[in-house]
Symmetry: C2
Subunit: 358 residues, 2 copies
Amino acid sequence: MTKITARQIAAQTGVSIATVSRTINNNGYVHADVRARIEAAMRDLGYLPNQAARNLATGRTRTVGLVLQTLHSPAFVDMTEAIQMTLREKGYFLLMCNTQFNQQIETDYLRLVQSGMLDGMITNAINDTATEMRQLVQQNYPIVFINRSLTGIEGQPTRTGFVQMDLQHATFLATDYLAGLGHRRIGVITGDMQLSTQQRRLGGYREALQARGLEFDPLLVQAVAVNRNEATRDGQLTPKNANALHEATVQATGEFLTAMPDVSALIVIYHTMLPGVLQAIRQVGRRVPDDLSLVAFSDFPMAPFLDPPLTVVAQPSTEMGHKAADMLVALIEQPAQPAQHVLLRPELIVRQSCKPYP
Amino acid sequence: MTKITARQIAAQTGVSIATVSRTINNNGYVHADVRARIEAAMRDLGYLPNQAARNLATGRTRTVGLVLQTLHSPAFVDMTEAIQMTLREKGYFLLMCNTQFNQQIETDYLRLVQSGMLDGMITNAINDTATEMRQLVQQNYPIVFINRSLTGIEGQPTRTGFVQMDLQHATFLATDYLAGLGHRRIGVITGDMQLSTQQRRLGGYREALQARGLEFDPLLVQAVAVNRNEATRDGQLTPKNANALHEATVQATGEFLTAMPDVSALIVIYHTMLPGVLQAIRQVGRRVPDDLSLVAFSDFPMAPFLDPPLTVVAQPSTEMGHKAADMLVALIEQPAQPAQHVLLRPELIVRQSCKPYP
């Protein structure tokens, strides 16, 4: 196939080469009708699209990936929108790599950076300690971790950034607030204990208990986890893991509350589990806040309109998204340097889902 | 730059060409350490990444765009996750093109198909009747519209598909239910009246009123719209349009309820407006369902836990997402044919936010 030039397109459409060039590079005004004619000629003549040619020339795609487990969390939605808006301002695009909690899908998406399809990645990967992730970092691919940490890379020149909410302080805030209301047996409904974040989350819980002179009882921490290797599509329609997570949450929370009648307060670490927890509370016949105080992560637009209005620990998700995108673009466009860290503070928003211990 | 071959990578790393090939093409087992060495050599030698090369050779990127106004809608989240999962099974990737209700951003994203960066697009674009959109369709780019229609292409060979919920039936269901409870003055809080979907949505409202012998009063339809050309980032942090929409909703709904004291029931067409509507109802001192019955679109996990549990018209969002992705891939991989249409039925889910008219 002969290489088609702007000159040939100009000849075919009867406009100037400058106009063709403005159309191809999408800079400067071109009348819509003229643009349409030029683009039709580009297609007719088989002109190599600008974007593919530019990617080939620069070795960049100006596309980055966002690896998240789910979008069924308003904090993740805020973050995702902020990331995309910031990337757009900087001339980058966002490829969505939603894993539905499936480890294999996650690993597949991580490979896209190595395949050259992505210039970098923002991730809150569940297999954050896995070999694949460590390799990506060691091979100097630009990666920004959200609410994740990675040991063993301190002081090394990498292209790695970390944007975190202070997870330890977040659970501290929730626990301290409940303990201050007189609650002594404070349950925690949380996720997969393999996650590197669990240590910090539970650290804040233990720290607050200790400060109030309360003992840590591991039986008060209820983990809900789904099989990370399960199929992700049930028949034609249902994302199986999301349903599995909901059902597992209802069951685990129900059993927990039944087995632990002295638990008078509950902290729910993941928003994705909140509907399941609320359903379980109803099923076992407890009422919030009269029979059970409740603090959830994170804030969401409907929280003030729940029955009762929900007390939450809010995450600065939008700010985290902007910072993660800013950081990733800097890592892509600048040489390797020591890992960058941003730590943002959570905030307790008191509504009406907690009461003093009777 | 000399072209680097698999042979040179094999020589540099001391493994077989077959192993290099398995690594490059990502098929078949390669030990993680070996893979890392090969990938390092690929980078050292400047091997053209597989994906870029393949894109160049095929003229395809195996990436499609999803143009949505926002993700702050559980129905859009369900749809997005379903689209991505289905695309993944078919070997395609999803580029997120969230417009934050901004028309210019939307137009920019539409251009990505023409630029060759995307193989096709799924969209619920707001400027669905605009020249750019019509051009894309006429130029035979594969496009699937969600809850949108496009006139003037009937019978023409295109690569266009339409996945719609029956919007007319959806508002019919809500209106008929409320009218059946004895409500005579049923308000509608809806969005931008320029949207092509408004006619069908209001058509269902009028149809139900007529069937019950009630008169249509245009004053009962309250549109809330934001400026489509506003900046999208307020300072560093806030997506301006989302906030603007919320504030506009609170104000418009408050004024509407104050000006129309005889309105005893309300239908909220967009989930993004629901928090604003609930806030306005509180501010004007009405109580749901005692002083005001409420039906909202669409269903969401927290709806059963609102105060009161919310009656909704549910949209088959996950199914719509799967169908849209299936349809788009078929349009990409097959020649032009008459536009395809899928129409799915909504469902009324009765909870406790409506009462009979006293």
